[in-house]
């Protein structure tokens, strides 16, 4: 008994290289899933990993990805790597991989036939650098959703809008009823993300790709994108009375009917679920703002830093397999409100909104998202621009578009 206690204590101090051969291996996993719905989802992953005889040491970092990523990266570059860590697959961890700090998972992937089971294929592309696979995608998150509070529209006496244009038209009636038409939190990534969604929905998939993939600055200064800026101008007018910072506080405004709608990724659904709301009855979701029903294949993935410890490396493999296990995929994604990365799992329990998402996915209407197309540097500059645009009515649409085009010209 005492020996067992001792090993447990030793294992907990991650500095020690070997912690008893037979004992369960502790693997620290860092992530930024801390809101109610997210925490419930990550508990499912921990449960599944613990069931394999290992132990999930939860390293949750509060305050969204922007706060968490610098901490994770400095731990990896500073020589104190965790067992596994969340990133959005795409270019966030690109340089860490190039510097040889991340583990190559190609062997595990070949064994598990990931290329066959993961759907859509572009997900694995986000994990692949120079032909090697470096991460395990766990879910598909798409930004392009408009969440509407049925209660708010009832109160204002206007029918539920079917797309963005109807929503904009309903704004005056909502304001008259004392409801904030659109909730946009103060954090910079929220306004920047809302613009990207408008670009994909109002402008269309081709416009989106021409700007962010081809980085065509001339096009970004042109009339197609001007239309999108016009829509963003509507959005900032509708959002001007939102006095909250965090995205889940903004979602909460919609849940309580104080705000009529929010442009937010499908992770917002977890919040509606935790609050006990039913899709279709209490709230309504419009994928692609009802204009362009395409789903972006952004999402979360787990990366595994290269470790010296053989036991831990083995545990990493087990975790990688567990994450893609059909049962884990279902349990996790139902709680998270996101879509599973496997096409062969059964999602009968999915609610209205998730079914809409699955149907779009089944049609193959997918597109890449900013995390895959733009560097963090460019994204940050974009955030600065749109944070200013949404908060400062004096910044004209024309000036903002000109600055946007300049930014695209120097983007990488």
């Amino acid at each position: 008994m005492r020996y067992k206690l001792l090993t447990a204590a030793l294992a907990a101090t991650a500095a020690l290289q070997f912690a008893g051969q037979a004992a369960a291996t502790d693997l620290e996993v860092t992530h930024w899933w801390t809101s109610g719905g997210e925490a419930a989802a990550v508990a499912e992953l921990a449960k599944a990993f613990d069931a394999t005889g290992n132990h999930w040491v939860d390293g949750a970092i509060a305050g969204s990805g922007g706060t968490a990523r610098p901490i994770m990266i400095s731990r990896i570059t500073g020589g104190d790597p965790m067992g596994a860590t969340q990133f959005n697959h795409g270019r966030q961890a690109e340089e860490l991989v190039q510097a040889g700090l991340m583990r190559d998972l190609t062997d595990v992937a070949t064994k598990g036939k990931w290329t066959d089971v993961v759907r859509p294929k572009s997900l694995l592309d986000g994990c692949t650098i120079d032909g090697k696979i470096y991460c395990v995608p766990v879910n598909i998150h798409s930004w392009q959703w408009l969440w509407l509070s049925n209660e708010a529209f009832e109160k204002a006496g206007v029918p539920l809008p079917k797309d963005w244009n109807e929503f904009v038209a309903a704004a005056p009636a909502l304001e008259k009823a004392g409801i904030i038409p659109l909730a946009v939190g103060g954090q910079a990534w929220q306004s920047s993300g809302a613009f990207d969604v408008l670009l994909a929905a109002v402008g269309g998939t081709d416009t989106f790709l021409k700007v962010y993939k081809d980085k065509d600055a001339k096009f970004a200064a042109g009339p197609e994108v001007a239309k999108v800026f016009k829509a963003a101008d509507d959005a900032r007018k509708m959002a001007k009375n939102t006095n909250v910072q965090d995205w889940n506080q903004a979602t909460n405004l919609v849940i309580t009917g104080k705000a009529a709608g929010q442009i937010m990724g499908d992770w917002a659904q977890g919040e509606f679920q935790v609050a006990g709301k039913t899709a279709g009855k209490d709230y309504t979701c419009l994928p692609g703002l009802g204009l362009n029903e395409v789903i972006a294949t952004g999402g979360d993935a787990f990366y595994f830093p290269l470790l010296k410890d053989a036991d831990k490396s083995k545990a990493q493999e087990v975790l990688a397999e567990t994450l893609l296990d059909p049962k884990t995929q279902v349990a996790f994604n139902l709680k998270k409100g996101s879509l599973p990365v496997r096409g062969d799992v059964d999602l009968n329990a999915a609610n209205d909104c998730m079914k809409k998402g699955l149907a779009i996915l089944a049609k193959g209407a997918v597109m890449p998202w900013t995390d895959q197309l733009l560097s963090q540097d460019t994204q940050k500059q974009k955030e600065d621009l749109f944070a200013e645009f949404f908060a400062k009515p004096e910044l004209t649409v024309e000036d903002a578009q000109k600055r946007f085009a300049d930014l695209i010209a120097s983007a990488d």
């Binding site: 990266i73 103060g186 540097d377 944070a387 908060a391 400062k392 600055r403 120097s410």
Partner: protein, 310 residues
């Protein structure tokens, strides 16, 4: 060996100066040996770190430092970025406000406390208390106080003045003043204490002499006491100035740079671009500019202060 050193050290000063110069190096040898670690730390960490940062600010390092020189590109980009320009403007406003007001209010409070009033200890404690709080806590407290939905505005409206509006943190054009209020509330107490200590250091006889000559009290303060408090003022200035340049946590806690980017400050730009944007080169360029601004202030002052004596 050790014995000889000791005798050398205990020799009277006049004999030392006669004996020769080389001894100068070995004077107070123990103290010099003891300070080697600190000297090394200062050289390696401060000077070394500074040189390293400046060097890499001329590269295009992204997430990891790489020696791939791009000349002044990072600086061109920096000075073209609207966010950096707003940061600089905010720093100037914030700096002017905290410098002037914390000196004036701090000195006034100290002068008032110096009038041999009753309950001086109590007042001193009250004024110094905010300093016991960190900038993060200060920022949060003032974020709530200035929030229109449950702060000062809400209270005044509940009292009956329904058109009253006071929401500096939600108004782009005055948000930096909202932050300055919090900074003053937190920092003035310390300045007051420093000033009070300075005032207590003034000899009682000077006051008596001034009174005999019939000089009014405000003139005594302005023309006799304040010039005599020069060292205290310099210490205070250094403390205030360093607080201005490094302001970061207060902004993060109060507004996190918002609304939009209206309350951004240079230190936050450095942090955000180094870690969020994964662009070390840009962050280093910004921090080099911050260093440069400090140097521009310090060098002429140090020249006047120390250069004159020679």
């Amino acid at each position: 060996m050790r014995g000889r050193e000791c005798t050398a050290l205990t020799q009277p000063a006049d004999e030392m100066s006669k004996s020769a110069r080389p001894n100068l190096l070995f004077r107070n040898l123990n103290a010099k040996v003891a300070s080697i670690p600190m000297i090394l730390t200062a050289m390696v960490v401060f000077v070394g770190g500074t040189v390293w940062t400046v060097l890499y600010s001329f590269t295009n390092s992204k997430l990891l430092p790489r020696l791939n020189f791009v000349g002044l590109d990072q600086y061109y980009r920096l000075w073209a970025a609207p966010r950096w320009l707003i940061s600089i403007e905010n720093l100037l406003i914030y700096g002017a406000i905290s410098l002037v007001f914390s000196l004036v209010i701090g000195f006034l409070l100290a002068a008032l406390l110096d009038q041999k009033i009753r309950f001086e200890d109590t007042f001193r404690t009250i004024f110094l208390y905010p300093f016991a709080l960190s900038f993060i806590v200060t920022g949060l407290v003032w974020q709530w106080l200035l929030n229109p939905d449950f702060g000062i505005q809400h209270v005044v409206r509940d009292l009956g003045w329904t058109s009253f509006s006071f929401d500096p943190l939600y108004n782009s054009s005055i948000v930096i003043y909202g932050i300055s209020i919090a900074a003053l509330w937190q920092g003035t107490g310390l300045i007051m204490c420093l000033m009070l200590a300075g005032l207590r250091g003034i000899d009682e006889d000077i006051w008596k002499a001034a009174r005999v000559d019939g000089i009014p009290m405000w003139k005594t303060y302005l023309f006799i006491v304040i010039p005599m408090m020069r060292p205290v003022f310099i210490t205070t200035l250094v403390i205030i100035a360093s607080g201005i340049v490094k302001v970061y946590d207060l902004v993060v806690a109060q507004t996190s740079g918002g609304p939009g980017i209206a309350s951004e400050v240079p230190a936050k730009y450095v942090y955000d671009y180094m870690f969020f944007a994964q662009n070390l080169g840009q962050g280093f360029a910004a921090s080099t500019m911050m260093l440069l601004s400090v140097v521009i202030v310090i060098v002429p002052w140090a020249y006047l202060e120390f250069g004159r004596r020679k």
